[in-house]
Amino acid sequence: MSLENLELFEVFVRSARGLDHKHAGSLHAVDHEHALEYARDVYTRRSEGVSIWVVKSRDICSSQEDDSDSFFDPSDDKPYRHATYFPLPKEVGNM
């Protein structure tokens, strides 16, 4: 079978209960069910996971390199958005 019949999927694996799903990689498959099975074989064969998500790569909307200026640069000069600038009241203790 050639890859042209297959779609690209992104795989997210949760390694343990209570943790987030993390991006593990991508793979080719026919459909979602198929992708889930391959994800199990390719990314959890050394018992890395307790839950798997698969998403068609083309369904992911991604920011572009060109967007960097308008997306990310404006936050560079706004350090007051970091919580470190706020003194913590003694009563709070460690946070």
């Binding site: 069910e33 099975e37 391959y38 199990r40 074989d41 390719v42």
Partner: protein, 257 residues
Amino acid sequence: MTTATTELKQDLIDYAARLGDDAIVLGHRLSEWTSKGPFLEEDIALSNVALDYIGRARMYYTYAAELSGNGKTEDDFAYLRDERQFQNHLINELPRGDFAYTIARQLFLDVYHTHYLAALKNTTDETLAAIAAKGIKETRYHLRRSTDWTLRLGDGTAESHQRMQTAIDDLWGYTHEIFEHDELEQRLIEAGVAVDASSFKAQWLADVKAVLEEATLTVPDAEWAVRGGREGYHTENLGHLLTEMQFLHRAYPNSKW
């Protein structure tokens, strides 16, 4: 020890070894796909299934070796017996064929093992029951794969449909043997140890039929049947398989990784 229990113990050794033979021969056949799969993901998936079978063979052989005593190990069963001593069902040793052939065989055997291992879980023998309990989880996943692929290929293109149908027709005559048993297994069935596969043949047929029909494939009504595996009579394919599988161990006895 009385003669009756001695005989039953030898029966049990043979039975465990037979189940090991089925598993290792099929596992080896599947492992032949490693690095030759149709694409990367399927290559890994098939290799995983092969490993499941080889792992299962090790458990059966280890048990047979334990019962045998005399310092025997799983390797004696896997690597130091010749063709006539292997008692696997013939369907396991047939060449891997094309991808459709491999999938058709897996479908037949995955449905079979789903019933077989479910029954073996209830055996009076604790070790075999434990092996079955582990195996059935793997097999349920294998069946999911082989069912999916059968539907995809059977109901796919004209070529994939044709290849699936050819594979099913070619394999059909080898599916009868897996439901039969000889006197040895009959004794163990009566003792509550072995599985009587004939008890779920109708269910197997219904399960397989359901998948094949959904995949627009035709269930063969051919009468031919090939037998002999449990007696050590094999097709010409097993000798070649053993040559490759046993070469390393025989050339370098007891070598370690």
